[in-house]
Amino acid sequence: MTKMTLAKALNAGLRKAMEDDPKVLLMGEDVGKLGGVFRITDGLQKDFGEDRVIDSPLAESGIIGTAVGMAMRGYRPVCEIQFDGFVYPAYDQIVSQVAKLHFRTHGAVKMPMVIRIPYGGGIGAVEHHSESPEAQFAHTPGLKVVTCSNPIDGYWMIQQAIASDDPIVFLEPKRQYHADKADIDETAVPVPLFSSRIARPGADLTLLAYGPTVKTCLKVAEAAAGEGRSVEVVDLRTLSPLDLEPVYDSVRRTGRAIVVHEAHTNLGMGSEIAARITERCFYSLQAPVLRVGGFDTPYPPSRLEEEYLPDLDRVLDAVDRSLEF
């Protein structure tokens, strides 16, 4: 049992994966000596050497493109994109190459690659450092997309993602990196990677969250409980594929669902989830599925981000609207 932050848990998970499999490599900008700008790879170059923890030249397309070649040569590259907004120079490699190679070779080529991206806002950063690009990747067949919300998931999910033979975009809520600590039992058996999880049971309404908004929604549930409302919170964990059976069960019980994410609301994950819930739980619904998300503007300057991000009040407001529908 070790108490760790998400940052430390990810670091420990990466270390474990590298110990377990000599083919695992880390690549990215500043991941070596510096240990990454968030220190997620701290100490790994010192212990595993420069051949396994690779400080790359400053070119994201180069990182992902060379990782494709490494994967073809039997390695398991784990690529770090320094911030969400800097993944786009690599977007072509990710959507046109990484995502398609298995398909177009009828399975002859596997892409066991993990693309780690710190994402989400709330850290007072400048432009391009607070974005939530998950839907862009979830929309791309051939990629899988997962996101952790807490240290325990961080520790296990990164190892499971590295062990997967499919390419995985692994989103890390950067605001949570150093926020909370949790006890991690390294001998436990983790839940499967592509599964959602009920983070807090409830009876009146279901909140669907992932990554940074799980914590927000747990607070909402706490606040709602004070007003006599029982709110269930589901941590989706996997965005592609979605694991919605537990969600359908939940919504059939509560009759109400709200999806909460930081990404733009228009065509965000919430749109897909709302559609599927409507298709599968139509007769159980007592209110339309609501979405609370970032507005459909570019991410704002940091002094306006509190208003932009779904917070306790905005989610509570949606809870009221759903319950009063």
């Binding site: 030249p57 070119a59 120079p89 459909d296 503007t297 407001d317």
Partner: protein
């Protein structure tokens, strides 16, 4: 190769007009041109520019430490590269900066408070680029080099290259760092500019570091030599020597304005501060290296030169100091009293022609915000 060996010296093709010891030297190809003014007066002007630029930087660093800015990109050590280049520009020239060109911005007449508002998080650097022919700060590294190239292609099509009229011929400067030189965008910009013979000066401040990665990670050859492979000339200048940077940039600007196509200037300098105020360079570089570069400080060599040659007296240095203090006060006060944007403003900045759905989102949010009024 030792870090303090040939690399730090800049190599044989290093253009210098003022040594770190404040010794004025000549170069066969690049002469300092005071533009018909008294040379001492011009050098005093550069000194003042560099001191004020450094003050903008140190004051902003302090403001960040006091929580008034979210982050600050320090330029400490790069004053000569920026002032030498900035002062070589003609009014019609156009600049595409990175996120660190505070000294160039100052030369172009942009109020530093416009920059502080970006780092304070009030806006994202919302100045009109046409106001001072100074583009918007670009954080995605390298992207602006393509913008500069396209802008220069526009200048060409406007017939403002190679006319021989010094008031009309125009050049475009693309700033970028040694790290950014690895980006596809920068390499594509080189190719486009060469292919179309566009009037672009690619101005690379090689400050030796890209966050924690040393220049050796980006290039095995001196960066200026890359230009040759793309089919245009490149030069390396002592980026801590304001006279040499001025002379070389002036020549490069004229070369491009005359219609000879692009040129690369590598200003060989050093990032004396951290990458940004959130960075901790002690994790990846030796303090000896910084001590070594302090001996090459861009400002002190000019001060030594002016003093030793009797070109400036105490009164001059004191007046510059006083001016810097006043600037510091103005920045502190201006930063703290900067007006905030209303949260609803962002909805009106997305499109030229507002969409009905975004207008509706704005109105819904306005009603939501209004529901709190008087609640607390």
């Amino acid at each position: 190769m030792s870090l303090l060996g040939p690399t730090a010296q800049g190599g044989p093709e290093f253009i210098q007009l003022l040594t770190p010891e404040g010794q004025r030297v000549e170069h066969p190809d690049y002469a300092f041109d005071a533009g018909g003014r008294d040379e001492a007066e011009v050098v005093r002007g550069f000194y003042r520019d560099m001191v004020l630029t450094r003050r903008i930087d140190t004051e902003s660093t302090a403001l960040q430490r006091h929580g008034e800015l979210g982050i600050w990109t320090q330029l400490l050590g790069q004053e000569a590269a920026q002032i030498g280049c900035g002062r070589a520009l003609l009014p019609q020239d156009f600049v595409f900066p990175t996120y660190r060109e505070h000294g160039v911005a100052y030369c172009r007449g942009l109020d530093p408070l416009r920059i502080l508002s970006l780092f304070r998080g009030v806006d994202q650097g919302a100045w009109d680029p046409n106001e001072h022919n100074f583009g918007n700060y670009t954080i995605v590294i390298g992207a602006q080099t393509l913008h500069a190239t396209g802008y220069a292609m526009g200048v060409q099509r406007d017939g403002l290259v190679g006319t021989g009229d010094p008031d009309r011929d125009t050049s475009v400067v693309a700033f970028f760092g040694d790290g950014a030189s690895s980006q596809g965008d920068v390499n594509e910009a080189f190719i486009f500019a060469a292919s179309y013979n566009a009037p672009v000066v690619f101005f690379c401040q090689n400050n030796q570091w890209a966050i924690s990665e040393p220049i050796e990670r980006q290039s095995r050859i001196p960066l200026y030599q890359r230009a040759r492979g793309f089919g245009f000339p490149g030069v390396r200048v002592d980026g801590n020597d304001v006279l040499a940077v001025h002379a070389v940039t002036q020549a490069a600007l004229q070369y491009t304005r005359d219609g000879n196509g692009p040129m690369l200037v590598e200003a060989y300098t050093y990032r004396m501060g951290a990458h940004t105020t959130t960075d901790d360079p002690t994790r990846y570089r030796m303090s000896e290296e910084l001590e070594y570069w302090k001996l090459k400080d861009p400002i002190s060599r000019v001060k030594v030169y002016l003093t030793r040659n009797g070109l400036a007296d105490h009164a001059f240095f004191d007046s510059v100091e006083l001016e810097a203090d006043e600037l510091g006060v103005r920045l502190r006060e201006g930063c703290k009293s900067m007006p905030e944007q209303h949260p609803l403003a962002i909805f009106d900045q997305v499109y030229v022609d507002q969409t009905p759905e975004l207008a509706e989102q704005r109105d819904t949010f306005a009603a939501y915000l209004a529901s709190f009024e008087g609640a607390h």
